[in-house]
Subunit: 488 residues, 2 copies
């Protein structure tokens, strides 16, 4: 019998191995197809490395440079990054770090030179301790951490290498010179590759990310409102949220802070690559990203009202379906217009964008005012008998449901404590608050009010987005807005 | 006159330089005081570097190791990180990367050895291109990028160094062996320093961060509710939000994703350092972090209703002050209880936590039901005359205010376009939508409903937090919950 199970396992394993090449191929294909620039970048790195190793492999070149050629290889491996900005940021950090460290090391060497061997050893040891400690502490300053962390590490590394070597090698200056040349050659190849051969710009990435984010928000809002007024009952499981298409659309916005800042940092090292503007306004993109996040939190709240435990009956929801959907579609249209204006690098016209929204707001207001009985409690004489009956039935059903659940729960509490009990309780318990909430009667009136208020709140936040996009248009010298058929 | 201004500038500059040492000192002091472990870490790095450079500086040691000692220095600079987990992660990545690369390089060397010089050069060039390209492409796979990025870079670096060197150096094996010893010594010192001398654990950081985040959320909720029912009119400027104490408290939660994941990644490399549990449950902390972020978005929405343009008059708000504040303080208490249970590493009791909340919910429900006239439009006969009068007056005032502003705005639009006009418009325009919103009458009833709904929604989300904290308590083998005076 164990032999059998072993056989089975072996078979399953073989099956898996047979399939895995296909799986790996598909995976590789997917990573490459998602962004073909990745494959190009990989080829660029391979090509640069081969180029730089020619220094070693070709006899006449090697005679010129000798063993130091290894430093050119090292530089290419470490410095050549995906985008031009990242390469420049790393390369320049490395360059300045090395230069500073070398200067400092030579000053120390100059001081120590006069004295005996023992004093020199002590002096070198002390300076390594001092520089090591202070440099490491420097890396904790947020500004330095953010912009120059790599440079500081290279500074420390180079300083130590030179100081320590100088104790044993006599002509340290010649050694340093040879290495510096090689690092120069390596850096040169990196810059050539990243700036001139199929360059990827961090600035472009930031620009495109911003567009994607705005469009994602637009899609989320539309989907949220459509689903809210959908007649079918939606699910309210938190784990499902993670796979939710609405969530997929706005999640990139929520966690965009670090990506945005890194891209902006790298973009700030890039030379101008557009004829339109003298400088890429990366800080404005970061600011716009912040406002978009703020807007995104509003969308999360809106999305939350889809998943909430307290629900307005669909018949009441339907009363506000049309004005709400209209308002949402106007907001969506406005966002699409904004993303289009960024995509086409032209300025937007806030008046055109907001006019329709204000009309939609007015309609919603009218719809709300025409239904005053909505916001009454169940004890109000204003309810139509039908609605009153419906409300009572729902409340009753829920209360009974609640009660029966409470019983199950309290009986489980009376059991002696143990692991199996704990897991059981865990399955039952999360529904406790939910039931407590659903059984309350106020629930019926609140959610639609909250939903409308959140929608209106989004309009208010949209203003900040429009403002920042407008500012971006000015700072980035986008095309002027033209009134006629220019609007996409 | 220009001389005068020059003098002034020089004076100002001198003034600045005089003050700057003090400023720098204060800055250094602040960075150190914020987290004294930073200073300790800096001293540790300095000490390790000095220790490792003794290999070079002391005659008997140097005789044993020779020039290769430089690799030990390099290893210490690059590998020794702030927390034990980060050091281990980097060190092991470096170690495995180096070993793999060395093995592969020797296989290639073994194949190429048989042939002539030219073939060898071509073979080496081709293998460098191939390995360079494929390794770089590998770095784009999200899983590898997240866990092994550094190892892959080191693999590429080492492979190139060995392959290229092997072409010129005859006894490459001896060279590699010498360097490997040195890297071993360097790594040994790093591990010793980070694991045994004042160790900082990523796991501890993750644990403490989680506590801080929960407490921050608790404070935010309390502050939000207090401010909402505050009689004074709060400001509603978005730039102010950034400095807002409420915002300060929850902002750490919102952008915590990347920090959490990095800490968890590093923590997963750490050996167990507690007697209680066999493994640090870092993934559960990440999951709890996700739920806390989800909860945090709810707090953002609540905070948003403080800053919204549509306001319920304070007299109406005051009607719900007590039950709302009670519910909020119960939620706050629950969060504090949860953070306390994590801090003291004991399991929590969900029943104790949620019982009071349900009572508070019931009270809020009663309060809402006792004020049915609240949710009426202005045309309902249910309003007390006084409230009706108040509402009409407010609406009128707002409408007039709105009208006068609309006029200013449209007159500015009629001006010819130009830069100065644009800036002027920018100042006026953001208020457009705000006014459109405030002038609508439905506004009066909505916001308090939205506020209450959001508060109730928070209670629903609190359940997920409790569930995850409970799971954490079980997975991390926290102390059992005791019923008597154990509750903090």
């Amino acid at each position: 019998m164990p032999m059998d199970s072993f056989n089975k396992k072996a078979l399953a394993f073989m099956e898996k191995t047979k399939r895995s090449p296909g799986f790996i191929c598909r995976k590789i294909w997917k990573v490459g197809r998602d962004d073909p620039r990745r494959a190009i970048h990989a080829l660029k790195v391979g090509f640069s490395l081969t180029l730089v190793s020619l220094l070693y492999l070709m006899e006449p070149l090697f005679k010129g440079v000798g063993q130091n050629a290894i430093w050119a290889v090292m530089t290419v491996v470490v410095v050549l990054e995906f985008t031009a900005g990242a390469t420049l940021c790393k390369g320049l950090n490395r360059g300045f770090g090395t230069l500073l460290a070398a200067s400092l090391a030579f000053i120390f060497e100059f001081i120590a030179r006069e004295y005996g061997k023992v004093f020199r050893a002590v002096f070198i040891g002390a300076s390594i301790f001092l520089i090591g400690t202070s440099t490491t502490f420097l890396r904790f300053f947020p500004k330095i951490k953010k912009n120059y962390d790599y440079g500081v590490v290279i500074f420390l590394l180079t300083f130590n290498l030179i100081t320590v070597s100088s104790y044993r090698v006599d002509d340290i200056l010649k050694l340093a010179k040879g290495r510096t040349y090689m690092i120069g050659i390596g850096s040169g190849i990196c810059i050539l590759m990243s700036l001139f051969i199929f360059p990827n710009w961090s600035g472009e990435d930031l620009h495109n990310n911003t567009i994607t984010k705005i469009e994602g928000l637009a899609k989320s809002i539309e989907a949220c409102v459509t689903e809210y007024f959908n007649v079918e009952e939606p699910n309210s499981d938190i784990d499902e949220t993670m796979e939710d298409p609405i969530y997929e659309n706005y999640k990139a916005v929520l966690d965009s802070k670090s990506t945005d800042e890194t891209l902006a940092l790298h973009a700030s090292w890039e030379p101008r690559h557009s004829v339109h503007c003298h400088k890429f306004p990366c800080q404005q993109y970061v600011k716009l990203g912040g406002v978009l996040r703020h807007f995104g939190y509003g969308v999360v709240a809106l999305h939350g009202s889809l998943q909430t435990e307290i629900r307005t009956p669909i018949s009441i929801r339907l009363l506000f379906k049309d004005p709400c959907i209209r308002l949402a579609s106007e907001v969506t249209k406005a966002l699409m217009e904004l993303s289009g204006s960024i995509r086409n690098r032209r300025q937007c016209s806030p008046e055109n964008i907001t006019e329709q929204i204000h009309q939609a707001l007015q309609d919603l207001d009218t719809a709300l005012k025409s239904q005053p009985r909505l916001f009454l409690g169940t004890n109000s004489p204003y309810n139509t008998p039908k609605m009153l009956a419906m409300l009572t039935t729902t409340a009753k059903q829920k209360f009974e449901h609640h009660l029966s659940n409470m019983n199950t729960d309290s009986s489980s509490e009376r059991k002696p404590k143990g692991v199996s009990d704990q897991t059981e309780k865990r399955v039952l318990r999360p529904t406790l608050s939910k039931l407590a909430i659903t059984s309350l009667e106020f629930s019926e009136a609140l959610p639609i009010a909250a939903f409308v208020a959140l929608l209106v709140e989004l309009v208010a936040r949209l203003d900040f987005v429009i403002e920042e996009v407008e500012k971006l248009g000015r700072v980035a010298c986008f095309k002027e807005f033209k009134h006629a058929g220019d609007v996409v």
